[in-house]
Amino acid sequence: MLKEIRIAGFGGQGVILSAHILGRAVSIHEGGFATMTQNYGPEARGGAASAALVISDQPVLFPYVSNPDILVVMSQEAFTRYTPELKEGGVLIVEEDLVRMENVPQHIKVYSIPATRFAEELGKKMVLNVVMVGFFCAITEAVSYDACRKAVIDSVPEKFQKLNLDAFENGYGFGKNLLAKGPSKEEDTEPVSVLESAS
């Protein structure tokens, strides 16, 4: 089992921390292997942020991600730039209020969440990344709920733990509901738009 993941958005959304939480969940709390890299180039300035994560049950040899199995986008730029790299049959996770989806490739599965709105309802816009982690966990099942939850706890300062756990639960619950009423995961021949489910 080897999965390549990319998470991208703009600076300040906590893109890197969300990859950090998932990597920690796999490598520390699940006993698997995770390697995280991030873009440090000039493209990482001016607002763009991107992290890549390779998770596996074997030691990770090749550290970089060029064609992810799972792509999480939290900005229009990230959507435009990285969606063409997604593997056929891959999973695209979208911050639906921040991304207008155009030219979505065939043969991928799309799952959307208004993560920023969830975060704002909790009173802190900045926890949108943890909402996204919860959603990711529910949708992909690449990382277990327990491991993810533990990784959230040890990645944030103690006084923000409750807030972040609420954010995680909201994202996770939304994801599970979406899966329950949405089309089955095997049905990957059509792009699945779930935009209406959140409005």
Partner: protein, 386 residues
Amino acid sequence: MMHADPNCVLTGTHFMNGDAACCEGAIAAGARFAAGYPITPSTEVVERFAARVPKIGGIFIQMEDELAASITLQGMVWAGAKSFTVTSGPGYSLMMEHIGFAAMTETPCVFVNVQRGGPSTGLPTLPAQGDMMQARFGSHGDYSTISLVPNSPQECFSLTVKAFNLAEKFRVPVMFMMDECVGHMTEKVVIPDAKEIEVTPRRHASKPPSEFLLFEPGEELVPEMAHAGEGYKVYVTGLTHDKRGYPLMNPASQKELIPRLFEKISRAADELTIVESEGLEDADVVVVSYGITSRVAQRAIEMARAKGLKVGKLRLICVWPFPEKLIRELAPKVKALVMPELNMGQVVIELERCAGGQCKVISVPHPGGTVHKPADILAAIERGAQ
């Protein structure tokens, strides 16, 4: 043998990058002083060090440039501290003068180089292994030293500890040759209990000041050390010196000093043959690699084995001194040695020399900026197996 200070070691399981792990390794090894002129992609090492030392006791000084940093750290060593600096390509070039000074004055210290693409300013945020020959031969004059190359954040911790220990044991500047990929990559890092981390203490003067000579070769040809302010005569110069450390500039003095600087390393060749090997016994082709390249090479080796080829792995953890004896024994038994490097072919020159025409030696060069494609290494393995 001593152990790490439990009050300073971050025992536990972490998800941290190689730069952070290198910093924790330095702290575990007892480093309490660093001087630096921060440069991408090494900045995080000293950034973390600067944040850590106020709590554990210690100093980080940001100097005006790399020349200053690389000599300040040596002043601190002669004052009694364990000390290091951190840099990348352009800064490493500027430090060469003082790396030679450390070799000549037998100053135990560690130079961390998080390698990036070069020459010149090159690719500040992307990896390369282009400074490997510079690590061995970069300073003027002739000297011998030790270079360790990690391939994971975990090793950035454990091998940094080893780098400090070897520096103390042999009294040499040890080159810790990371690269941007390993430095910025985040993985699980297990930091053991302090009592499980062995720390080599300084070879301190065992004689009273009246009988002590600062550069008299002691055990293993390495002199004992006295620090400034302890009542000993501490005269340290980059000039060729006698056993007292006083300048003595003639051929006889040079002949007594310089060959010893080589011999203290060469006589420990077995101890310094630090490699990770697998499947060498019946291999037709052995892939010899180091650092981040060894991980990509491993992928290529697995692909080749899936095709039925007999491929062995030899990862150099200590590149300098080069494991000459091992290669001389291996070369007649295989068809080919394949060496991928993130440079246009540096350490492969040494590999070729030691193979001595007994087998094919295939270089897989790469200008850096990313890592090899496993398929490129696989193609070289297939060529070697023919």
